[in-house]
């Protein structure tokens, strides 16, 4: 199953230009089996996503992109509403307690200033990034960062033995599916998604 695990809609994230109806239409058009909405500090109500999925005939999952002091974290399976600046260590405690799954999003994004290449950071140095100790996985393919930053994330995940997920981080409709996570098994709901992430039965690819 091809699922875009990192998306924002204008309905719930002011930074996005994609309405939920545009997202659904585009996901179907490019052949995604489903997508996971990861708004900033917000989780969609289950009844809304269930109704949308039923009416539109596409799998819709719910996640949350939480801003931690140490970087953005994609969280799947955590219902708790988390506001403000949270230390990543405390966030991971919540994730573990809830049986949820966390992914360090775009771990080497250059703070919108410059890329990882200019920093001349080695893989060994990058592996020391503290935030990597407090997540279940690393986002190794993100549609909003430079190739070198994704490459570094991939090398670091490999070196540390952490699973790697992929997501477009789409804020515009033409970005949907730039990177997707490909699951081996059929995933019907949020619980299945979390279980398959924990099981590590997935790889990465793209739908464009």
């Amino acid at each position: 199953m091809k699922i875009d695990l990192h998306l924002h809609t204008s309905d719930r994230s002011p930074c996005s230009d994609i309405s939920i109806s545009e997202l659904i239409a585009e996901a179907k058009r490019i052949g995604l089996d489903g997508f996971c909405m990861t708004e900033h500090q917000f989780i969609w109500p289950l009844e809304e996503t269930e109704e949308l999925a039923r009416n539109e005939g596409i799998r819709i999952f719910r996640g949350n992109e939480i801003t931690s002091a140490q970087g953005d974290v994609l969280v799947y399976g955590l219902e708790k509403d988390i506001k403000g600046v949270v230390p990543i260590k405390a966030l991971q405690k919540e994730v573990v307690a809830a049986g949820a799954f966390s992914v360090l999003a775009h771990p080497f994004r250059g703070f919108k200033m410059f890329g990882i290449g200019e920093l001349q950071m080695s893989v060994e140095q990058a592996c020391k990034k503290k935030a990597l100790q407090f997540v279940n996985a690393v986002e190794i393919a993100n549609g909003k960062v430079r190739d070198k930053e994704n490459e570094m994330a991939m090398k670091v995940a490999e070196a540390l033995g952490l699973p790697g997920t992929a997501g477009s981080d789409a804020h515009n409709v033409d970005e949907v599916g730039l990177f997707v996570t490909i699951f081996e098994r059929d995933i019907k709901n949020d619980a299945d998604l979390v279980a398959e992430l924990h099981a590590g039965r997935f790889s990465t690819g793209n739908a464009r």
Binding site: V85, I88, K89, K112, M113, L119, M121, K128, K130, A131
Partner: protein, 163 residues
């Protein structure tokens, strides 16, 4: 009645043999003695270790300062630092002394990288050469770019720097 209150602050940046930087921040006054240490990992300038010790009469909100201070580990010195630091340490129930310790230490780290180039530039009288030295320093320390008005994209200093 005359009230007398004396406060001293000191920040030191010490390069270590493994390439990291140790920053020591000390505050001493009649009521409080604070010793904080941050370890910084270049080139990303990530805070990898954070320790603090408070003696004399720390405010009650700072009783758990050593544990609280560890929350800054993994944070990078760069844009957004002020917001993160205030989010972690300020507000009701927060220990704002820790915010001062981190922000003033971060400032010292930035100065640690900029000061040698500025000092070298002071001995140069030719304006073009002075500009070239500053550009070379920025190219070698890209974290500084856009960190202040002088290093914004439209600044004359930035002209010709390809990043």
């Amino acid at each position: 009645m005359t009230l007398r209150f004396l406060r001293n602050k000191l920040v030191e940046v010490e390069p270590c043999s493994d390439g990291t930087l140790d920053v020591f921040w000390r505050l001493t006054d009649d009521l409080l003695k604070v010793d904080a240490r941050l370890k910084i990992q270049p080139p990303e300038l990530e805070i990898t270790e954070a320790e603090v010790r408070m003696d004399r009469f720390p405010p009650s909100v700072c009783q758990s300062a050593p544990e609280l201070f560890e929350d800054i580990e993994g944070v990078t010195i760069g844009p957004g630092l002020r917001k993160i630091v205030h989010g972690l340490f300020s507000g009701p129930g927060g220990c704002s002394i820790l915010a001062d310790a981190v922000l003033e230490s971060a400032n010292a780290v930035i100065l640690h990288f900029t000061r040698p180039a500025i000092q070298a530039g002071e001995s140069v009288t030719d304006d073009e050469e002075k500009l070239a030295n500053t550009r070379a320093m920025l190219s070698a320390n890209p974290r500084l770019i856009r960190s202040c008005v002088a290093f914004q994209d439209d600044s004359p200093i930035m002209q010709g720097i390809e990043l």
